[in-house]
Symmetry: D2
């Protein structure tokens, strides 16, 4: 299978770029599935019904969320109606939505998408490792599902690396989100799982992690409230990770970053 | 000028790789100066006298530190005797060592190296922006110094980006350290300052940010003390950022990542 | 001198109780000055012009703030016009308002009120110890001022205790705010400074630190947004610290807690 | 039943005072059980075999721990052999020891002691509310057990208050530990559960939460490592909470603080 994961979509700039490039990338890269992190799509804060639908219509198969999942209140009820939305699996029992979903591709392949949230420097949710262990007990790569993608939404690089190794040999791809900056450490771990610490955001990089830079810098320097942060409006770089899995084992054969448009150095996997 | 900054050197694996490649890189890349972050060089925790000398002998010009600066107690007295060591400038007044140093290259060019430490999710030091402001008041790029390198040792990508924009037009390069994972966002900011959120470590990437993975994963999963963390011992990837500055303005003309050896995808700037 | 400090006033319940009892306490306890923390007076979030005036009219002499200082935007401009307002002194240079004020009592005694904010588990401001050092360099207890009250607005008991000892012999009273729960450790430190880790709030204690308990508990248990937190509306306990200073040295002769009304055990100093 | 809970015992000073007063207090206050927090008993850092035995011999029935549970490595194996030791119940599955214990008093009454650790500003363990819910599902106050004591080992007053209300009507006493400063908010909550945000430590209060003040202040001011922190050696104040329960319902009829010896104002419940 060929999978493309795109990191946190930030505001209109990020949405426009993602909606424009996904149809073409599906073709050019012969993708079986596209997974996108949407936690900042609605003006930087959360995701709403309309934007969810726009992203799905553009060819996105599954949308993951994160700590901004509930910024738009309508998500609290909508999430239970939209099976293609995945929020962190380690929210407490009783939380709306689901922490994992099975997506069946056009070719009939089954992809499990799971998200967990880190706890270092973040809201202390339930144990992300225990949540993953539970998913691995339910679904087995290369047996009950053809591919497993783990989105680790976390701040600390150490926690993300640890999730990578914890999943090694049991997932096709472990990819980080939340820090909004792509890392250059894509690799296949010894057990066969592809890994990249952060996919990077889909947004304008002439910014502070997607938000207009003047306000964001001023907030850190002056320590008093200024204007409300708003997404930067320059052209976005679409950032993500492309992975090709072995059809039998579900493990990764190849992993490459994707960076398209905007200010970052360009990188498009060859197929 | 041509400068090479190498990120946090972790343990013996990182040291061996750095000491081996620096002499060759100085030649091949026609470098005017090499700056290395040494806060994890001594078995992962701090830096000592001997390793400092080894790094300098290998051709390193300036060594920056970070939150691990004082892990080896001998550093508290040694740092005042070794002018090539730079610790975060925003430690309180009276802290041993210095937060900036002027290095004069063989060609007689003056390079200012400053380090500041972030405060998000870290020990709350003094204001890093005020510390930078003070340095910019003392030294002017393209006037009193030929190049300025700012090492922002921080956890949060937002704080690092903010430091980048704060320095834009006033420094040659702002480069992050501390997270131990290289980012893929190298770019020249609108004002002419080169920027990369994190240089990445010089260490074994089959690890949790340089430390042996089993112990590090177990620490997060089990929440009870296990073996003391120790550096991973596989071959290191030397990670860094290469920048070429304009001799007149001191601003960046070109910035590229460097990744050499070990497990990460290889990248060597062409000169 | 006889001083009364009252802790964080929370919402209408807290305001009503404070405004009612201050005139009587001024008389009964023969107070020279009343200092109140007002950072939660405006529906739990910040302070505004009208409430400031109400508190001053009720007989409050100086109002301190804290991390909620700017919750009501009008404070950003008002604070410069109202010399009886004191915000943490360790905000960065250029912050509106002042971190200390001199209040001259009816008997002509001079009281210095300083506030600093802690940095453990809080927004990393500038160094609170350096800020205090600066005030002690400007004003000397028993020489240039007759009494010094330090309000240490902090989360961690360790940091508050450390501020207490740092000021011992140089202030009349070091009293904590911010945690909203009165501590029972009032004492005169070896150098003569009265100390209590937290004064406690003036608010309804059948609550979660002053806010309605159902919403506050649910927020911690369910981890998804519910109703916006609002102040509890039951009768408040007015909590504070009473100190009597030596007229010559300015040091403390006596320190006692005050707890009046509401649900907590009652405690009124005898005069 | 009459129960006495004593807060974090710090070092030799705290141990000596506790061991001296417990036998006498058992008699004078006609206590059915004595529960002590021992996480700092071994020179400030953890608890060991010998000190556990000394405390039990002095008449302590159950010892709770906290984030310092494993500071002394021998505890990792000893805890499974000593049923009177209770560590936070919300450590992950597989952690040595137990999060709750049933103690049967001389009069044949059954007391459940549970400890949970908070997560705000602390190591992110599993959900403390879920852990408590599980205990309440197994044991019912006034039915299967005669009294339930919940030790909430936490930093934030908000989280401790929330645990209090969460347990209200289902526990006899919810008492906080960890901050080492006694609070003055003892009260019986509307549902009948006695509550105090922190019991306070048993240690020398001329200190920074039990540790020698010079080193502790210097650590915050200077930000470089100094001498290793060590317990203060002056006379301790024994701090705790006394509660009398209704024999039928198990709920609280009366709650009072205890403060004995050392520097704090003295408070001994009358019986
Ligand atoms: Fe995000
Ligand atoms: Fe996020
Ligand atoms: Fe670091
Ligand atoms: Fe490091
Ligand atoms: Fe506050
Ligand atoms: Fe407050
Ligand atoms: Fe403790
Ligand atoms: Fe503790």
């Amino acid at each position: 299978m060929r999978l493309l994961y795109l990191g946190d979509v930030v505001g209109r700039s990020g949405r426009d770029a993602v909606q424009e490039c996904v149809p073409k990338l599906r073709q050019d890269l012969k993708l079986d599935a596209v997974i996108v992190n949407g936690e900042n799509a609605a003006h930087g804060f959360g995701l709403n019904v309309r934007i969810t639908q726009d992203l799905l219509e553009a060819g996105v198969d599954v949308i993951t969320l994160g700590n901004h999942a509930w910024d738009q209140r309508e998500m609290l009820s909508y999430i239970d109606k939209q099976p293609r939305l995945v929020r962190p699996a380690n929210y407490p029992q009783g939380t709306p939505g689901r922490g994992a979903c099975i997506h069946t591709t056009e070719r009939g392949k089954k992809l499990l998408v799971v998200q967990v949230m880190g706890r270092l420097f973040m809201d202390p949710l339930d144990d992300p490792f225990a949540a993953l262990q539970q998913e691995f007990a339910r679904f087995r790569l290369g047996a009950t599902v053809d591919a497993i993608l783990v989105d680790v939404h976390a701040e600390a690089t150490s926690e993300k690396c640890a999730v990578g190794h914890f999943c090694d040999g049991r997932a096709s791809l472990v990819v980080g989100s939340h820090t909004h900056i792509p890392t250059a450490d894509h690799a296949i771990l010894p057990g066969g799982t592809a890994y990249q610490t952060d996919a990077g955001m889909c947004g304008d990089y002439d910014s502070v992690i997607g938000m207009k830079k003047d306000g964001a810098v001023s907030k850190l320097v002056r320590k008093i409230p200024g204007e409300r942060l708003a997404p930067a409006e320059g052209p976005a770089t679409v950032c993500g990770v492309f992975v090709e899995t072995d059809d039998r084992s579900g493990l990764a054969r190849r992993v490459e970053p994707l960076r398209l448009g905007g200010r970052l150095s360009q990188m498009i996997p060859e197929v």
